[in-house]
């Protein structure tokens, strides 16, 4: 495994610092590890080995910026995202959000922090409860946090529907009435309900048609601008990530193998794994077809072999 390449200058880091936390970036992840035990045995389970899903990963997200986390299936990028939110308990390492350490935080304290830390899930079909109305889905974070009254929550839900480009009348509808792209908008509205600072977007467009994907990506950019949001944007498609991110971290087999400003990671990839990811993105130019096929053949060995 090659050395991690970090090209970001310290000056730039200072410029992006969150003023609320002694100049520390909004999110600081240090030496994060998440190991899943492999157990064997009939009556008594014995841990024989570990899957090192996230293996010593460090990155920062500054206020108002997007960090793209890119890699293949199984590279550990989603696990890293879940560890940031403490939806998975990290094996070791530190996750600091606005200067506060999140690992080991008690449940009720964590709930307060999570108001500012939200997630948009990959599958818009599985992440919305089919028995709840759209209004109830969007307002649920407010209910969980005991915020507002029934009336004010409904009002908030209506406003959020408007923010994501829907008519406020949709509050009484059910998820099955909506297409994949529309459901993802509902998921985004729910993530916005608590006015968060950071949203983890876990493959938010990979289940969508290209034309709908464009709508959602544009919406995420607009919202970032409007609400000064920061994103940890997780995806496997480098073209999607590049268009969204200020900086990119490339993950492979649980480690970050390259990290830097989006244009540099794309323009001068230092690691062969990044080059292989770049060569895999389909390009809308039939003339490059053969050249790119050659390029892919060259880098094939660095991609995860099917086991």
């Amino acid at each position: 495994m090659s050395e991690q390449v970090d090209v970001r200058s310290d000056l730039e880091a200072a410029a992006h610092a969150d003023p609320g936390s002694n100049g520390e970036p909004l999110l600081v992840v240090k030496n994060l590890k998440k190991y899943f035990p492999i157990k064997q045995g009939v009556l008594i389970d014995r841990t024989v080995d570990y899957v090192r899903a996230v293996d010593d990963v460090s990155f920062e997200v500054h206020a108002g910026e997007t960090l793209g986390l890119v890699g293949e299936s199984g590279s550990g990028k989603s696990t890293a995202g879940y560890c940031v939110l403490q939806l998975l308990k990290p094996t070791s390492g530190s996750v600091r959000f606005r200067g506060q350490e999140l690992t080991g935080l008690a449940h009720n304290k964590l709930r307060d922090v999570r108001r500012e830390l939200q997630i948009v899930f990959q599958d818009p079909y599985a992440s919305l409860n089919p028995r709840m109305t759209v209004g109830d889905i969007i307002a649920e974070p407010l209910v969980v946090n005991h915020l507002g009254t029934r009336q004010t929550r409904r009002k908030t839900a209506e406003q959020l529907l408007d923010v994501v480009g829907f008519s406020p009348d949709f509050v009484n509808r059910y998820p099955h009435e909506f297409s994949g792209g529309q459901r993802q908008r509902i998921g985004i509205a729910r993530a916005l309900a608590l006015n968060p600072r950071l949203i983890v977007c876990d493959e938010p467009v990979s289940a969508l048609d290209v034309s709908i994907q464009a709508q959602i990506l544009n919406l995420l950019k607009d919202l970032q601008h409007e609400f000064q949001l920061s994103y940890l944007f997780i995806a496997h498609d480098l073209a999607v990530v590049k268009g969204m991110s200020d900086r990119i971290a490339v993950m492979n087999l649980g480690k970050i193998v390259e990290q830097g400003p989006a244009d540099e990671v794309y323009g001068r990839p230092q690691v062969e794994y990044t080059q292989a990811l770049l060569a895999a993105v389909p390009v809308a130019d039939p003339r490059q077809m053969r050249i790119r096929r050659e390029e892919r053949r060259k880098h094939k060995h660095v991609l995860a072999e099917p086991v």
Binding site: E72, V210, A239, G243, P282, P286, R292, P306
Partner: protein, 334 residues
């Protein structure tokens, strides 16, 4: 004579609310050893077109008119038994979701040999031997040992490779791949597309690739048909289509694809298509793209249905406002 000739194909579904014209007058030809890409959004009728060719449209759907000629033979009027002999043997098909198209209760070996024994009347032993060769051909490591595994032991990309092995097992002349890579990671997608191209060359097959991703067809297709609301709206060679797209919808699909070499992509917006594809129960009467088209409304294009016309040799378009004509006589767009 082309290998496959589809002419004015119409497949309608009878529903409680009315008749859905899922495929509404689709025509195209495919030569031997060529690849045709069919591109369009969910619900544009591209998959139903493939199912209609294969004779796999289920009730309440029905091919109501049009013809599908394969090696000169009309397929739409074949009896069920006769069509079963064509499917798998002469035309192979790969479906979108590799997770659900394999039977989880049967080993991979059983599922591959099923096709071989049905069509080629191979003995159990011969079929097994051929199955190992097929798995090797789609680059599954340790093919001999993996034959007795159940599908859950295979990853998504490998299951799709198994599906491909099954589809090509009888050396079909035509392979239809319906969204073969949609459920997969970009790296796995690239591997599957490269494999399909390799097999197409080795087996002298023709191929139809159905996808919503303009990038995927650019990587594979010789010719491209863009579908919208049950109709072909633009058809041309891949080179001409990407160099000079004519239909506003094709332009929009290209603009929606995130590009790696886009300068300042971080601050740019992708071209998205406002609104949704029309309800096929009551599609717009004239141009079906008119409600979402930024060039519509300045003339009679939303009252007079546009015909598919040849705007230059080999380049067909169904629009009153193709790009090359907009350039010549700019219409005032408010």
């Amino acid at each position: 004579m082309a290998l496959l000739e589809v002419e004015d194909l119409r497949t309608y579904f009878q529903t409680r609310e009315g008749e859905v014209h899922a495929v509404d007058g689709v025509s195209f030809e495919l030569e031997e050893r060529k690849t045709l890409g069919i591109v369009g959004e969910s619900g544009c009728g591209k998959s139903v077109t493939a199912l209609s060719i294969m004779g796999l449209v289920q009730t309440p759907g029905r091919v109501v008119s049009g013809s599908v000629r394969f090696t000169g033979r009309e397929l739409t009027t074949l009896k069920r038994r006769e069509m079963e002999d064509v499917r798998g043997l002469e035309i192979g098909m790969i479906f979108q979701d590799p997770m659900t198209s394999l039977n989880p209760t049967l080993t991979i070996g059983t599922q591959i040999t099923e096709t071989l024994r049905r069509h080629l009347s191979l003995s159990r032993k011969e079929a097994r031997k051929r199955a190992v060769e097929l798995l090797e051909e789609v680059h599954i490591p340790n093919a001999g040992r993996r034959l007795d595994d159940y599908p859950h032991r295979y990853s998504g990309g490998m299951r799709q490779r198994v599906m491909i092995a099954m589809a090509i097992s009888c050396n079909p002349k035509l392979l239809i791949a319906d969204e073969p890579t949609t459920a997969l990671d970009v790296t796995v997608q690239a591997g599957v597309l490269d494999l399909l191209e390799e097999l197409r060359e080795d087996h002298d097959m023709a191929m139809i690739i159905i996808t919503h991703n303009m990038g995927v067809v650019a990587e594979t297709a010789d010719d491209i048909a863009v579908m919208y609301a049950g109709q072909v709206v633009e058809q041309a060679t891949a080179l001409d289509l990407f160099d000079r797209p004519e239909h506003p919808y094709t332009e929009a699909l290209l603009g929606a694809l995130p590009k790696l070499d886009e300068p300042d992509a971080r601050n740019a917006r992708l071209l998205s298509i406002p609104g949704r594809p029309p309800d096929l129960l009551k599609p717009p009467e004239a141009c079906r793209f008119a409600p979402r088209c930024k060039y519509a409304g300045t003339d009679d294009c939303s009252t007079v249905p546009p015909e598919l016309r040849e705007i230059r040799t080999g380049h067909w378009v169904r629009s009153a406002h193709p790009a090359s004509e907009r350039a010549k006589q700019p219409v005032a767009v408010s």
